[in-house]
């Protein structure tokens, strides 16, 4: 289960609304490489992960991603708070406004609603960890792309924090993959799937 702490993992205090930049940042909430998908990926993969260290790692990183999802949502919320009708129209925010008013909804920068098809839970330890490594890099690239678009430091600071965490998680998942491989047959990692096949020894 989870307990809520009534604070953001890293502070978000944005004073200048900017609907244009909100529209791209919301991709890291509900887009293909966003925090919602990251969290659901790791929290789904952990059940059949046979090694407790790696199941624990998926739980703890999946939990941190929930805190990131909250930060990204807070950024989008503060960037779109109190927008006037004129600002909504001038900033190209009218399509989002039509469907969600100023409510926070998980979708990509291109307007596609969150889709669980953006992640896998394959039931194979090597496959899942390799996906997780790629996922951290895809999120890192997205944050790099966002940082090239953001001019406001109040927005850039929490984004930089989130970007740095992708790199740390990539490191941790690399260690997780190594732990898995150490427990498999060094001559053929794929001799059996530890999440499905019974070990013969």
């Amino acid at each position: 289960m989870w307990n809520y702490e009534k604070r953001l993992q890293f502070p978000v205090n944005i004073t200048q609304p900017n609907a244009k930049i909100a529209q791209v940042i919301m991709s890291q909430y509900g887009g293909p490489d966003g925090e919602l998908g990251a969290s659901m990926r790791y929290l789904s993969q952990r059940y059949t992960m046979p090694y407790p260290e790696v199941a624990g790692l998926l739980t703890d990183i999946g939990t941190e991603e929930l805190a990131h999802l909250e930060m990204v949502s807070a950024i989008v919320y503060q960037l779109t708070k109190n927008l006037s009708m004129e600002e909504i129209e001038a900033s190209g925010f009218a399509p989002y406004y039509t469907d969600h008013t100023l409510g926070i909804y998980p979708q990509s920068a291109g307007g596609i609603p969150f889709n669980a098809g953006a992640f896998q839970s394959k039931g194979d330890a090597i496959t899942d960890l390799t996906e997780d490594l790629a996922a951290e890099q895809k999120a890192r690239t997205t944050y790099d792309n966002i940082l090239r678009l953001v001019k406001d430091n109040e927005v850039a600071e929490p984004i930089r924090f989130l970007r740095a965490r992708e790199i740390v998680h990539f490191q941790r998942f690399g260690e997780g993959l190594r732990l898995i491989q150490d427990k498999l047959d060094a001559k053929n990692f794929y001799a059996f799937n530890p999440e499905f096949d019974r070990c013969k020894c």
Binding site: N3, Y4, E5, K6, R7, L8, Q9, F10, P11, V12, N13, E53, V54, G56, L57, D60, I61, E64, A67, E70, S73, A74, Y77, Q78, V168, H169, R172, E175, G176, L179
Partner: protein, 90 residues
């Protein structure tokens, strides 16, 4: 006087964020290094600091976690009445 109180609250809140970050980072490190004695001691030190800071914050300004609700304050359920963290907060 009032701004000093705000500063004090912001300072304590910032400390909790810093300590909280150390804990998250160390927990993930220990998942893949569960026998690193030095890291366990380091984490334990920060867990104690977090416990202390969360209790102090709850006592003075209201709880940030349901585990820290002071049993001495029955006049107001501050968990519900304090602002949510995305509303600026501290």
């Amino acid at each position: 006087m009032k701004s000093n109180m705000v500063n004090e609250r912001a300072r304590l809140y910032h400390n909790i964020n810093v300590i909280g970050f150390v804990i998250v980072d160390m927990i993930e490190y220990l998942d893949t290094h569960p026998y690193d004695k030095e890291a366990i001691e380091y984490l334990n030190h920060y867990l104690a600091l977090k416990h202390q800071a969360m209790a102090e914050y709850a006592e003075k300004y209201g709880p940030l976690s349901i585990g820290n609700v002071p049993d001495t304050d029955c006049n107001e359920w501050k968990w519900a009445t304090q602002p949510m963290p995305w509303e600026g907060g501290f």
